[in-house]
Symmetry: D2
Subunit: 258 residues, 4 copies
Amino acid sequence: MVNQINLNADMGEGFGAYDIGSDADLLTIVTSANVACGFHAGDPNVMHRVVTQAKERGVSVGAHPGFNDLLGFGRRRIEMKPSEVEYMIAYQIGALQAISALAGVKVTHVKAHGALHNMAAMDADLAMAIGRAIKAVDHNLIYLALAGSAMEKAGEKLGLPVAREAFVDRLYEDDGNLTSRKIPGAVIKDAKFASERVVRMVLDQEIVSRHGKKMPTRIDSLCVHGDEATAIAVARAARAALEAAQVRIVPLTAMGIA
Amino acid sequence: MVNQINLNADMGEGFGAYDIGSDADLLTIVTSANVACGFHAGDPNVMHRVVTQAKERGVSVGAHPGFNDLLGFGRRRIEMKPSEVEYMIAYQIGALQAISALAGVKVTHVKAHGALHNMAAMDADLAMAIGRAIKAVDHNLIYLALAGSAMEKAGEKLGLPVAREAFVDRLYEDDGNLTSRKIPGAVIKDAKFASERVVRMVLDQEIVSRHGKKMPTRIDSLCVHGDEATAIAVARAARAALEAAQVRIVPLTAMGIA
Amino acid sequence: MVNQINLNADMGEGFGAYDIGSDADLLTIVTSANVACGFHAGDPNVMHRVVTQAKERGVSVGAHPGFNDLLGFGRRRIEMKPSEVEYMIAYQIGALQAISALAGVKVTHVKAHGALHNMAAMDADLAMAIGRAIKAVDHNLIYLALAGSAMEKAGEKLGLPVAREAFVDRLYEDDGNLTSRKIPGAVIKDAKFASERVVRMVLDQEIVSRHGKKMPTRIDSLCVHGDEATAIAVARAARAALEAAQVRIVPLTAMGIA
Amino acid sequence: MVNQINLNADMGEGFGAYDIGSDADLLTIVTSANVACGFHAGDPNVMHRVVTQAKERGVSVGAHPGFNDLLGFGRRRIEMKPSEVEYMIAYQIGALQAISALAGVKVTHVKAHGALHNMAAMDADLAMAIGRAIKAVDHNLIYLALAGSAMEKAGEKLGLPVAREAFVDRLYEDDGNLTSRKIPGAVIKDAKFASERVVRMVLDQEIVSRHGKKMPTRIDSLCVHGDEATAIAVARAARAALEAAQVRIVPLTAMGIA
């Protein structure tokens, strides 16, 4: 019987004078933070601040590496050789590890961002490249991977600790991929609907597509967002519903993966 | 009696399609490489390549962090708070450590680049900020510091291993600082003059200013450059002269500092 | 008898996914917009959007060029040769002109941003470099310059139309420069105080320092800010007070300068 | 009977301390320069230098805009909406116009760079977006377009002056597109072969694919490259062969297009 789950969110996505997202709110909801590492967003100051705040709240810290595309916020696909992705991911993980060392924090997981995440979910070569970077830098780092994706398989193949992730506020297709944001309703904004759905997901360890197809899968972590007011409300409601269902919300490091 | 010395040079300062410097030549001359970390120059691909080449040649690898100013190649002074410098330096060291881990190499020293180097040579707060970043990331990293500078003092104060550096191809002022490049002759281009001078520097452990003032100092490492054809010739001649004087050229890690 | 004045504000300072400032609010208050040009902030999308919005509101458009330092938002001093500043300014003006052409708008003034503004206010060489860039690109562009600054003098010397600017929400020193933000009270947050002060400034064509020193000067334009809630309130109150004093608020192009 | 042709090359692709290509050599060969505009390469200093040099040699100047991807040198495909491409192209043209104004030069053509060029050759929406940007900024600017491409058609549709381009050192497929660089021999390195081929191309106004298919087309300009030693030799030989065949080599502005 599943009685605990991790909640993660992307954070530290400001840059210089710019701020974005709702880190302060998210830190009261999630138990693991995916910290941008300076390529699609983030800079050393922002990274240090969010890592320090995460530490204060007992939130575990992971690297959230993305494409080197600040203008596109890492959401635009860029063709890179797997070896180039490998170096790029290692670079970003190492950068966050060092900033975290300054703050007395240990980086414990890695989750790819944006277009890189979406590409590596389907592309075994990219998924392996990310995995090799993780393994070389620290083989105890948890590879936070979309449940059922090429990243999950790559992590397993490399013998890395893998956490399977599902999304609180996104619909799924029958093949287990996220419904494109271009399709109306792909992003769930109704807190009640999201909450009921997420409790069932966790208790049944099963993803249900928007067409009703049931896909059994282990789920270790739920991803929430902070981009919009509704996202925060959805996340907060989901957490409350999980707690009401006697599911404990714990850091990724407490999920018994590593 | 001094019978060994380290030779270091800045490397890996390309970016994307751009190449600069003479890494291949320098790797046949020096025993330690200061690798650009992606801020003033360098990118994950370049970093991985130079670290791999350094490993093949038995050249020890250090981080060469600079200001976030690719356009100015890190040679323009930028005002930053010491805490910001601290995070920025940690970021860059960590990035290189991770890239190096992929290549099976361990980063063993840190040397600041360009304008940041020149500012930290005189400014105790910046020198300490760099030192704190080094210490937090790995207290065994050698702080490669201009002999007599605020960086040397900061490294000592923090209990870090410190390597004192002198320059093969630069004149000195009476206060121990480098003569400004704006003054004619500040950069030594005569291989014979440089070679004789550098052998005396190492054997006497003494820097002599351009006005003839003698400044005794421990010298662990000599910095050479690869920007121009003359620089490579000067570096090669200096190495040959040192070897002719029975001085062994060793990696920084073999200098008995750490 | 002065019966009209221009109100200007910096706008379009977002970048990619990032937004900053209060463009929508400012566009209801000011009559001229200084549009960031992609170096310290801004990108082609943001520029096109703000220029289009300015056009809809009858707000005249100017270039707001700054240092190539997105991380520092153009607020950090960077040493550049005057010729380099000249090219950099021309580049940014031209970029905005072309974006504006797409939107059917004509760029009519130029105002330097941040650290570059502060440096050029005191440094005749930089002020002339900015002026030469303006003149070469379009000698009818208005050089919007801090009243009494080196920029005002450079504009006059080059025969450019010059608009003298004063600040609605900043205190002044006895030498006519802005009081440093580091000094408490340097930024005026009291709408009533700012309003009364600004009406007197305009009617008397006189700046009064924080020590009470009166400095007569022609004032063509008042700069307001949108960074904080108080800044918007101060700007709105200042506009209302000016209108109550029968001063018309007009675009820079209507000030009879060019 | 064709008795004149234009030769163009990409130039000014350095950045800060970085140099690349062979501008000095190319300026003795070509009659039109495509100048990088600061996104995939180039900066205000580099742009000013190359425009000044082009002026001295009587070489006409065009904008060579690319994706905002210095790391990838504009060679990586990035998904952008046509409107975004439109603003981005306008921005870069305007920037070069202003730099050119400082140097007393008029920009007279536009040629897209790298991945953007390749995408717009096939994609009518992108080709039109580039065309609209050109038209809004200056409808007399020549749209330099791959012969037979979507760019050629877009230019015609918009009523812009269009110059049809063929490549001196690249093989063609039967559909008129360039043979991918991944296919051996796609880049022609044999000066004699290239020279004979190019003379026939110009005199017959016909492109011949690598499989021998003949495709009649108007050819106004030939593109040469400067990336490698062989490229310069090929370009030089092609020019000599054309001159030997009584074909005059003229700036794009002298081709009777505009």
